[in-house]
Symmetry: C3
Subunit: 140 residues, 3 copies
């Protein structure tokens, strides 16, 4: 029997960096009662991303943050959108280089993630923010 649900996960970030949401998304899948289907996450912001990355060695996330900080320097003198601070335009560019939506199949009632995959909200702003992720689940 086809069914679907639309819920929301709210994340209070502690500022720039990675916030794992895998357990919360897995709970949404469990609550939906869907055995086989599709889970789509959509982050309703333009200065933070959703990313699937390695959940084992935290050094991976440190290196990712360091690489993006070098690739998109805060306070680049060429930025003209600067009213909200040095990190604002850099955050928009980081978001454009990554993504705000993910679709993950559901099988046997669980997310079909690989062994080493975690789901992260990547906050790109320096200060803490309240971030909202829409969670759509459809299947049977």
């Amino acid at each position: 029997m086809f069914r679907q649900s639309l819920t929301e996960i709210v994340v209070a970030t502690r500022g720039r960096g990675f916030h794992e949401v895998t357990a919360q998304v897995a709970m949404s899948v469990s609550d939906s009662g869907v055995t086989t289907g599709l889970c789509t996450l959509f982050l309703r912001h333009t200065s933070a991303s959703l990313l699937i990355q390695e959940n084992a060695d935290p050094d991976v996330r440190t290196d990712l943050e360091d690489f993006f900080a070098r690739l998109v320097p805060d306070g680049d003198p060429r930025f003209i959108h600067t009213a909200e601070g040095d990190d604002d335009m850099a955050a928009h560019i980081r978001t454009s280089l990554t993504s705000v939506n993910l679709s993950i199949p559901i099988g046997d009632g669980a997310l079909a993630l690989g062994t080493w995959q975690g789901i992260y909200l990547w906050e790109h702003r320096i200060r803490p923010h309240r971030r909202r992720i829409a969670v759509h689940i459809a299947g049977a």
Copy 2:
């Protein structure tokens, strides 16, 4: 009652830059009659992107364009795929760094976009092109 639709949005771009399609996608959702569901956009080209970004200050789009032009310079002397002009390979790389597909949940009969999110077709070629976006909507 589950229903779905597959339609197309055609955009005549004016050359490199951002072309907002939020209103056209919202119209597709409205036409579909879906109250809760998922809207998936798929751009059928390899030298333009779909991007969700800030719809308020146009300087954000100016800075994005400027950043990508510096990151992926047109006419890079290392490019070997050059038959169609200096901007062609740069356009393929920009597309690879962004995305050609987006999935946005639908709730209360509307796209679950955040307040400051707009949907843009980002043309990476210098000259105008006719771009086709497949729009799949499913739900109830």
Copy 3:
């Protein structure tokens, strides 16, 4: 009549580079019996990507590989996640700059790809790997 399927495509990569999977995905769509719907691909790894790019001139893929090799150098002395070799952290960053999931509408029983679009698994590790792609298809 709504139906869905969840299957898997396994790719034995020959090491870093592009491996086209368009024909295998098209076969999954054909096997599903879905005429109109959505096909979602999800790569269950953190050091390889799924990418839609030009399927005509192979120079495009050569230039993409060269660009990413320059943008994210193997063995960057700032990397701290280095236990698995010089290419490991670079592979995670390349994956973050691209994507592990794609959603492609299905119309008339076929993927709604553009004329020049192919679906590629982009292996970022130097050595061959066995990669698993979850394939979810839903529609009618």
